[in-house]
């Protein structure tokens, strides 16, 4: 953008990267600021202990509120997901403003996990090694000793003595509306953070605006992965956390012949590319794949092609309201092939919307589902239902929105300010929280969450059971490509074509 | 009684062997018609005789199934309607077709097209406008004109294209006898300014007033041709057309 424009845009004070020429100096600045965060946090908690609530409450009345911008679709095509996410954020904001926070905080450099160091070297190992390491399934509850109480008192109402004020216009599932509202939030409402978007298209529409204006942006959605952007934090699950685990499970339990049915757009195509590339590593084979345009709602020919190919199981990357018609139609046609997926059910609760047994034998790796049987999740569900009694289902993305909101509040408290560059540094300091789903950790290098992933299986009665779980899967793929946003701020979305390993498994052609 | 103007014998329009069918009905059936320059010809015939279809064929709204049309010696059978107009053949429709939502001035502006590129004054048109009293109604919306004025306006629109042959389809339909007489006089005077005119009309008073020669159409064919007196004395015509037996 031009210099003229920069004059208008919200300036920032945290010019930590003012001297990009010298790496050493850069790192020193980095370390310094992190130390000061830790110090601030300790001071802050001490202050709370001494002065107690009255002080902070009095302060809250005087202090201006923290402006929290949210763009979630409440009408249009994606309303079914957007309303859920909108509710998730509202719940979290209510809790924060009433003095609650999710347990957790800075875990020191590295946190749990092998790669979760601040500014690690990108791994250069063989991809098979990473895949194996990334996905050790477990059912051993003792590994992650979960407390029932994870929502704890923060010691103040709001953050830094300021209430969080939600500003949430409705972008109506319309990309240009997203753009103009994003500009409105930044330039007019002068918000401190923006969380926005369901579809990747919506994210891509506003991400350049966020970068131009140096606005802290959270994208709280499961997606095709690959975003590496200094100002963007993604709290949804990504392919390495979903596709690889579900494939491992399905191949082990049903067999090596995979048929992919994918929506014919970015998410479907890229996820299918993941499946194609991962299959040989997991000693399996994709014997057929089909891409369905988003407007298609009748699946007779797809069903017959599947029956002709006779796969052991189906990999489902179909999305949207038209595509979900596949399930009742396939069921009515007597297709009894097991299915694996990274989105359906967890995102759009098809198992609640369709009568059993349309989604029998369906398996999905999810970062969250309403049915998770842990005590802490039951409490979460209770709180949610109390606030939104009419909610049809609490889906994966609503949970992501909830967690992201708490994560942001935690980072602001840690930073001691709402200044974006400083909050970004706080988010990059190795911060984690106890989410209703389990422990999640913001990976500094990639700005994605290390997630607690469960594999949900849907039976003939559409009851959900969690057959296995992976308590800690890291966002390893973009790191493999050398992404390290702490050291090298950038702004792009990587696609599997850019990974030499994936290039070997390019799609041969349509159909 | 005006004297018929002399036609100089040069053929303006020559149609031969024209046939056109609609939905199984042969509206025009192997018809031949010749018009000389400066001729004023009336076309009569009972309902369904094919008069309007013939006009449609001449103006190009319909394509003939067989036959051809020569205009000023040129074959125009395959030309589009607008091309025929540019060659000097213009039609007034049976039901008045003017731009009702626009003013008279705008109507005339549209009609005075760019294809009549010479910027010299269209004298026939200004004469016609003043004769018919339309020049005082420039700013009136055409739809608000009286019925007769609408009919006259459409004739003026046709004149604005500077035609050599004017086709008038029932120009006095719905007019009072006075208006009919005025129209008749106007048409005759127009013809005197060396304009070939072909009129379809039911009103025998009108025909009697203007006709030099009359063509009778019946079942898509030319039944007979001649002067009005000849036609009126023809018993066969009386039988088919006037319903007398």
């Amino acid at each position: 953008m031009n210099a003229k424009q920069c004059d208008y845009e919200a300036g920032s004070t945290g010019q930590l990267n003012s001297n990009p020429g010298s790496e050493v100096e850069h790192l020193e600045t980095d370390g310094e600021s992190r130390r000061s965060f830790l110090k601030k946090m300790i001071v802050a908690s001490a202050a709370t202990a001494v002065t107690g609530f009255p002080y902070t409450r009095a302060q809250a009345a005087e202090n201006p509120s923290i402006k929290f911008g949210l763009l979630e679709d409440r009408s249009g095509n994606f309303a079914i997901f957007g309303i859920n996410k909108w509710h998730g954020t509202q719940l979290a904001l209510k809790e924060i403003n009433e003095g609650w926070t999710l347990e957790g905080g800075v875990q020191g450099p590295g946190g749990p996990g092998v790669f979760a160091k601040v500014a690690p070297k990108p791994p250069t190992e063989n991809i098979k090694e990473i895949v194996n390491r990334g996905g050790d399934e477990t059912k051993d509850d003792t590994v992650w000793n979960e407390e029932d109480e994870y929502l704890v008192k923060s010691g103040e109402n709001g953050v830094l003595g300021r209430q969080l004020e939600l500003i949430s216009p409705d972008p109506e599932s319309d990309n240009s509306q997203f753009q103009s509202l994003a500009r409105r939030l930044i330039l007019e409402d002068k918000v401190d953070v923006i969380m926005a978007g369901f579809a990747s298209a919506e994210r891509e529409a506003i991400r350049p605006i966020m970068d131009q204006n140096k606005m802290l942006y959270f994208y709280n959605n499961q997606y095709e992965g690959g975003v590496a952007d200094k100002y963007t934090f993604c709290t949804g699950a990504i392919p390495e956390q979903q596709i690889v685990p579900v494939m491992q499970y399905m191949i082990k339990n049903f067999g090596p012949k995979i048929y992919t049915l994918a929506a014919d757009y970015n998410f479907g195509q890229l996820s299918a590319a993941w499946t194609r590339a991962m299959a040989p590593i997991l000693s399996a084979e994709v014997i057929g794949e089909e891409f369905i345009p988003l407007s298609v709602s009748q699946f007779a020919s797809s069903i017959s092609r599947i029956q002709e190919a006779k796969p052991d199981w189906l990999m489902m990357y179909i999305t949207g309201q038209n595509h979900s018609n596949y399930y009742p139609q396939a069921d009515a046609a007597g297709v009894k092939i097991p299915m694996g997926s990274s989105i359906n059910i967890a995102q759009g609760y098809e198992h609640r919307r369709f009568k059993a047994p349309a989604l029998a034998r369906f398996h999905v790796t999810a970062s969250y589902m309403e049915e998770i049987p842990t005590p802490r999740n039951r409490k979460f569900v209770e709180r949610w239902r109390k606030m939104f009694p009419d909610e049809p289902y609490m889906a994966m993305e609503g949970h992501s929105a909830y967690v992201a909101t708490h994560l942001y509040a935690k980072a602001v408290r840690l930073a001691g300010t709402t200044d974006k560059e400083t909050v970004i540094k706080a988010l990059e300091s190795g911060i984690g929280v106890e989410a209703p789903s389990g422990w999640v950790f913001m990976d500094p290098a990639t700005h994605h969450l290390s997630q607690y992933i469960r594999l949900a299986s849907c039976n003939e009665q559409h009851d959900i059971s969690f057959v296995t779980e992976w308590p800690y899967i890291e966002p390893w793929w973009t790191r493999r490509l050398g992404v390290n946003l702490v050291r090298h701020p950038e702004s792009k979305q990587y696609i599997p074509d850019e990974d030499p390993f994936f290039k070997m498994f390019k799609k041969k052609g349509k159909g | 009684m005006p004297t018929p103007s002399e036609s100089d014998g040069v053929v303006v329009l020559h149609a031969e062997n024209l046939t056109k069918s609609f939905g199984g009905i042969r509206a025009v059936d192997h018809l031949n018609l010749t018009l000389a320059r400066s001729e004023l010809r009336c076309l009569i015939g009972p309902n369904g005789a094919g008069k309007s279809t013939l006009f449609g064929l001449l103006s190009g709204l319909h394509r003939p199934d067989t036959g051809r049309i020569l205009f000023k010696g040129e074959d125009i059978t395959n030309l589009q309607p607008f091309q025929r107009v540019r060659k000097g053949l213009c039609q007034k429709f049976q039901t008045t077709r003017i731009y009702r939502s626009l003013t008279v001035a705008q109507n005339l502006l549209i009609a005075g097209g760019t294809h009549t590129s010479n910027r010299k004054k269209n004298e026939k048109l200004s004469w016609a406008l003043s004769t018919l009293g339309l020049d005082s109604e420039h700013e009136v919306s055409a739809g608000k004109l009286s019925h007769s004025h609408q009919q006259w306006l459409e004739i003026c629109l046709a004149l604005a294209t500077e035609p050599d042959l004017l086709l008038l389809d029932e120009p006095t339909a719905g007019m009072t006898p006075e208006e009919t007489a005025l129209t008749a006089q106007f048409v005759v005077n127009l013809n005197r300014q060396a304009l070939t005119v072909l009129v379809v009309e039911h009103d025998m008073a009108f025909v009697r007033y203007i006709a030099q020669s009359v063509t009778v159409l019946h079942y898509g064919r030319i039944f007979t041709e001649g002067s009005l007196d000849e036609i009126e004395s023809n018993q066969e015509v009386r039988r088919i057309y006037l319903g007398e037996s």
């Binding site: 109506e172 990309n175 753009q179 | 097209g113």
Partner: protein
């Protein structure tokens, strides 16, 4: 020379548009000056937002010309808008280092929209299909394009160095640049660019519809056969008007990508396709000024509804559209203006300016 000027002025002040005479032009000049002065008082966001409303005006005016003046309804203006956006993105992305590359891209983009409109128009208008088929066919065409563009993710879909981007859209499209000044979405330069595009389009179309050509176009709307029988190549003129409308939609598309640096296939979807129709219908399709006002107002309304009313926005738009069509078939602005003009005695200077 002076005589020429006067005639030019007469044409501009012609009867084919609402608002004539000295008072109107004084008000118009006043409003235009107000727009030019706005940056001295408005905030950056207000400017950027207002520019966003106004950049759709050429598309709306194009549809007013097409539907209101020539009688052809189109649900395809958004497709031409998006085609221009994509072509602009492709050309400018490949000519990043060339000075004036974005201008070339803008010209190419508008030309591409116009060319596609010409090809489509040739099929439709020379085929003489019935009136209701054209909007439906254009809708179908938009949906084809949307379906096609949605599946262009990945490296194999790339023109030169620019990725088409599939459903997620084409990102990082450069803003228009003239010399060293860049017309980005939140710049004063862009505001002036959009406002001048809006005013020039309005005045240009006003000249067009009041010219002899414009009168003939109106004649085609009122009576195709009559106009044909007055010696006009109606089909050709319909194509010409269609192309002009598409080019104007293309202009809006170029301004849009320059504002947002982004375009994606859902710009050709069902809903965007109908928005220009709503603007045109609500304002009054028979007046350019009415469409200009309603486009800006409805964009503003949609924006305010999104900010305040949330999920009621579409409902309110639908009710507005239905009420307009039922009770103000000529459009709200046009109906009100006519009502007002009727009560006022005709001004003297109007009479002097009547058409020859």
């Amino acid at each position: 020379m002076e005589r020429e000027d006067k005639r030019w002025w007469q044409v501009l002040n012609g009867p084919q548009e609402l608002g004539r005479g000295r008072v109107f032009w004084c008000l118009f000049t006043f409003a235009a000056l107000g727009l030019l002065a706005y940056p001295f008082v408005g905030s950056v966001f207000a400017l950027s937002n207002f520019a966003n409303f106004c950049l759709y005006v050429p598309m709306g005016l194009g549809l007013a010309l097409l539907w209101g003046y020539s009688g052809v309804l189109s649900f395809g203006q958004s497709a031409f808008f998006a085609i221009a956006g994509y072509v602009y993105g492709i050309i400018s992305g490949n000519l990043l280092d060339m000075p004036g590359g974005t201008l070339l891209a803008a010209a190419g983009a508008i030309a591409a929209s116009a060319a596609i409109a010409a090809a489509f128009g040739y099929f439709v208008f020379y085929g003489q299909v019935s009136g209701w088929i054209i909007p439906l066919l254009l809708l179908v065409l938009s949906l084809i394009l949307e379906t096609f563009m949605a599946q262009t993710a990945g490296y194999q879909w790339r023109v030169g160095s620019v990725l088409l981007g599939g459903y997620n859209g084409m990102t990082n499209i450069p803003s228009l640049q003239i010399g060293s000044s860049i017309f980005g979405g939140a710049s004063i330069g862009f505001y002036y660019l959009v406002v001048s595009a809006m005013l020039i389009t309005y005045l240009g179309l006003r000249l067009l519809v009041n010219s002899h050509y414009g009168h003939v176009v109106t004649g085609i709307r009122d009576d195709v056969e009559r106009t044909r029988m007055l010696g006009y190549n109606v089909n050709l003129m319909q194509i010409q008007v269609f192309v002009v409308a598409a080019a104007l939609a293309g202009l809006s598309g170029v301004l849009y990508v320059s504002w947002g640096n982004y375009i994606n296939p859902s710009s050709m979807g069902l809903l965007p396709a109908t928005l220009p129709v709503i603007w045109t219908a609500v304002g009054g399709r028979s007046s350019l000024l009415a469409v200009l006002l309603s486009t800006v107002t409805l964009r503003w309304l949609a924006d305010s509804l999104a900010v305040k009313g949330g999920e009621y926005a579409f409902l309110i738009m639908g009710i507005l559209l239905l009420v307009t069509m039922l009770f103000f078939p000529a459009g709200i602005v046009v109906t009100l203006a006519r009502h007002w003009l009727q009560r006022k005695p005709e001004r003297r200077d109007l009479k002097k300016n009547r058409a020859p």
